[in-house]
Symmetry: C2
Subunit: 211 residues, 2 copies
């Protein structure tokens, strides 16, 4: 994430001047098309980033959590925002103004280099994702997604997410997502619960993703 790549002194400076904002479940934080006046740092809770489609469907791009930042891109590019962001459950964010950010950044040349590195890294990841999109079967792509969501946890991670949300992240329907999960469960890699997926064997799940 970009904010965490900044110099700690700069991070502190930005936080001092930031405003805390709370959002309720499903509340819209930013909308596509708006011009950026700053970016957000997630203090607590989770945020879904993606695009609302015409019919009201949502195509998720990422699920962000505590310590993650987002919205910096539109600040740097001076272009309208290209994704919608929605609070998932209650969340607390800090809003850091573009003006203050860009001004302060001039005094931290090392942080600019760090930003270039972090941005490049992220673009590499995204391109890799784009190239790999269609690769592999749905169960394999689902396995990869679950490994990411489960995080670093060694064994028995509990991921609190609905099958609807998983489907939106993969760009498939809930029926197909459920079928993929059933296959992973039959292989004893996960277990399906109400609003949760339990990752039983992260290592073998990761192996499965590479097929």
């Amino acid at each position: 994430m970009l904010f965490s790549s900044l110099d700690p002194a700069l991070q502190a400076h930005l936080l001092r001047g930031s405003a805390e904002r709370r959002y309720e479940d499903d509340q819209i934080i930013q909308q596509r098309g708006e011009m950026a006046d700053g970016f957000w740092l997630i203090e607590a809770g989770e945020v879904m980033v993606g695009q609302f489609l015409r019919e009201g469907d949502f195509r998720a791009v990422a699920l962000l959590g505590k310590g993650d930042s987002y919205g910096e891109l539109a600040v740097f590019s001076h272009r309208p925002r290209i994704v919608d962001a929605v609070s998932r459950g209650q969340s607390t964010l800090r809003h850091i103004s573009a003006h203050r950010f860009l001004d302060a950044l001039g005094n931290y040349p090392a942080s600019m280099r760090a930003l270039l590195g972090a941005l490049s890294h992220q673009l590499q990841d995204t391109l890799s994702l784009l190239a790999g999109m269609r690769r592999g079967t749905n169960p394999a792509r689902m396995a990869e997604l679950l490994v990411n969501l489960a995080g670093e946890v060694r064994r028995e991670a509990r991921v609190e997410i609905t099958q609807q949300e998983l489907a939106e992240l993969l760009g498939i329907t809930r029926v197909t997502a459920n079928a993929a999960l059933r296959i992973l469960q039959q292989a004893k890699l996960i277990e399906r619960g109400y609003g949760t997926i339990i990752v039983r064997d992260r290592d073998r799940l990761m192996q499965f993703a590479l097929d």
Copy 2:
């Protein structure tokens, strides 16, 4: 593109120290996994960027032409390259060393800001593409791709590309690509030729892409 966002004086400086290299049709310019020692600027010809899959298939991400640069990401992120690059027909590139680039960049703070902007813009575009990937039917996605390839041309653009390559850019098979093109032709938006697509009506094609 990133190179073109740099200060003209910096561009000139980098070009002076660059080495010219020629590549033949289908020759591999860079491979996934290599560490970066620089980036390329395309002087003439075209370069396909994407990933070779295990079975030898190729999943294209972009088709670059004269004036475009690529390979900067791995330089900034200090990570291995994540895409393969292949010459499409003969091409002439200039290789700019990472060392020289990063050294010179320190003297051009405004260019660093410009790079942040250009990188952010590109990441925004890529995220948008990622979110839109599965959206729309194949004919609609094909229409969008052709509009991009046709460039700024007002009417009657001639795009020299095979259906196989179009399929690789969309991540579908040639059969499906052909079917999509047939539909666009039936709507009198394009015409299919041997190794070429003629865009008859760019405006309506763009309209079609939004369905």
